[in-house]
Symmetry: D3
Subunit: 181 residues, 6 copies
């Protein structure tokens, strides 16, 4: 039995992530999906809560013949203990998947196997693209799995991003701090 | 579709919890199992990590015909924001299950429906009992579902509790602080 | 112009505190009332939120011919920076009032004048007494100013304490942690 | 009786804020002035401590025929619990005033009435303008109420901003971190 | 070259610790002395600041022909990341010394060699004894190295403990929280 | 006996710092070297852990005829309590050395003597220069003391910076947050 670990912020979970999971599913029996920055929400970069992201991921991954765990990981803001933190919040795993050089470095320094793929490079680009399309009322639905689009519609997610982006345009609150001037 | 929320520390998940979930499963279509004090581990009262508890719960609940989510909830140590914290970490839910008067109070003040049952009273008693039997090499296996016993065996859980309990007996470190005298 | 600083938890603000303010009011022109453990609420020892305590204090002190400031002070859990923390949250003050030996020590080590009075000794006793009478449906109203009794009635405060106390009796949650067994 | 809640950082409290309070005072009987980022001070963006800002606000608002509460609100850095945090630190309020889209969004998601006004748009602009004039020895006094100018003079506030701005020019410490290279 | 790691709270550093270092010095070339609960001070159990404890340890250990590092370790209150935290704050070490079963467990789970000795059992006992003698004006000087007694005298340490103990006797503040009733 | 305090991040400790210590050593008998942002590591701006920096400083300063203490100082992110925090973590000192205007301001507001020197201006520049040379495989060794180069080689430090810098180039993770898209 092999269990993999795949970390992301999933703001939101999009087709790039979906393709990644598809690929990983060929290599493992079980997959832990670690939801990073779980304590963040309602900002331009992190619009959705951990609970909302759990929904997106769970609803999308039911189609896979793969036992999956969606696990929120709160930020500790200490890179030196990040691997231990992840390990304590997650079911034990054998191999980690990431293309983020910092994540790769931290896992490697801790002696954990990491597998990379050029494919991951789509991820960052696509996440930003989805959020920007949402903000300017563009077509974002085609960039995410259907189940994710449904979750976002239910929680009025595009509307939230549009309103939060307005905050930034004002310059009032670029980093998502509710205390305005 | 009704989704319920059931909070506990699950140190470990035992037959009392199992019976509770059985009962709740008659009333809801989906169940979120909130794992409280998710940041605590390796103490007499909280021996297991969040990841280990996710394993126990997920392995046990596969038998139920019920969509379940096991969601770790870290302590914020501020009762006044606890309900909001739980809501942000969990898929949206319609009704909460608890017999803990503080939890009931907090949910009620926030206008969320809470269902209680005398049955929950077993919980606290059984959790302590399981841990004490583990500590003194007693028969704890009969108090937990088989899947939980397997997880605990795999991670050498009884051994961990025995060692941690020794800390307390020394008086060195009753509250699980690794800095001894 | 002399400004005094008087720190307490005010759970709730009672006649002992009231008498203290009366006495201090003879010595200062303005008084800062620092509300300690402002981040705590809904526990047996700290039942009321900072906002509720601000109401109690402000409503009671309008009768005094004294400029008063009710300032919540959150716990930092580091005694070594406590005086600096208090100074940054409070309007500048000339003298502190306390009978708590730790507070006296911390202010003295920081070179700030502290005035003590045997009278303060009533405070701890009375706070516990008020909360216990609330918990067992006793006569607590006579131990607090009328304005405080009104605030507590409005927020259903006695009921909250009774419910929280039940938590403790169960042994489920003595330190006010909402995650039960 | 209607109580309003008005949140800002008030770094410092300026004529824009003053005009806002004037307008709000026509609609409410009591006003809570929430001082955001209360834990921040001595940075270019947040030069003044919570205590200093309490002084500015209290001294200015005595002129109004309005019961006011100046309440420091520390950052929790979790938008999802921000409304609960504010509610626990503040006397209970009926309506919130803000033009910050994030604040509006958070209050609306929590079901709290928010009133906006084009007037608020002055706020962010004016705060930055006041701090920049202070930094370059310009005429900032005309942009703030007289009582605020007095408080700032007493604490040597312009001098503090000039010194902190020097930090930034060095590039040593743009975000107010005292650990230089 | 072998470097050892020895963790304690050192409140204060006493003859039991001294004997331990003597023994360890026979086995290693360099020794890191980790000062636990470095963020705590001015309580009955943790009277001295990290800086004061650094002084005690450094002044005492100059006599040894051993390179030593006195490193304060702040509490993170998460056992699962404790080893990583210690490793990031300390120069790299080959072997840890402790008799605290929790510490032994945590290091062992992380695959780090730990050496124990019955001798360590003196530690907890002696720390409590020294503090109690200080509190009741007894002869504590004979239980600590001369250099430690000098540091404590300079900072008026016995006086601090006596004053803090008075707090506890009052019942006002048993856990070192400066907010009294 | 005079003890000085010199604060920096020392990422890494370079010749500019070395020259500063040389100069300070003429004025004091003992020197505390405060290692700022001790909790940060594995980022472009803060690549090395506190433990690694302790090694660099201790190995370099053995050559001086000066008692030195290398003390990690974790960020509290509250400027108003920063001086108290530093004082509690450090052996007591008589004079602070810094050219960072914010540090100067904070010490001055607390009534502590600060000595500045134009020489300090090299520091920020040199720190950035060393890290950039490491990132692009340039000659960084000549900018740091030999002992520092050895420590960095042992921990594969240049390699770490190169890998972390890759993270930034991807835009994935500019502020050192391991949760990628």
């Amino acid at each position: 039995m092999t269990r993999g670990f795949y970390i992301g912020r999933f703001q939101p979970f999009h087709e790039g992530h979906h393709a990644m999971v598809e690929r990983i599913s060929e290599e493992v029996d079980e997959l832990v999906v670690g939801i990073g920055s779980a304590d963040q929400s309602h900002t331009v970069r992190n619009p959705f809560t951990a609970g909302e992201r759990i929904m997106m991921i769970t609803k999308t991954l039911v189609e896979f013949d793969l036992v999956t765990y969606a696990v929120p990981i709160e930020d500790l803001n200490r890179n030196s203990v990040w691997v231990s933190h992840v390990q304590s919040m997650s079911p034990q795993f054998d191999v980690a998947y990431s293309n983020n050089p910092l994540v790769v470095r931290l896992f490697e320094e801790a002696g954990i196997e990491v597998r990379q793929s050029p494919m991951y490079q789509r991820e960052e680009f696509e996440g930003t693209e989805v959020r920007e399309r949402m903000a300017r009322h563009g077509d974002w639905e085609t960039l995410v799995p259907d189940a994710v689009a449904e979750v976002i519609d239910e929680i009025d997610g595009a509307d939230r991003i549009q309103q939060i982006t307005a905050t930034d345009a004002n310059g009032a609150n670029g980093n998502g701090d509710p205390a305005d001037e």
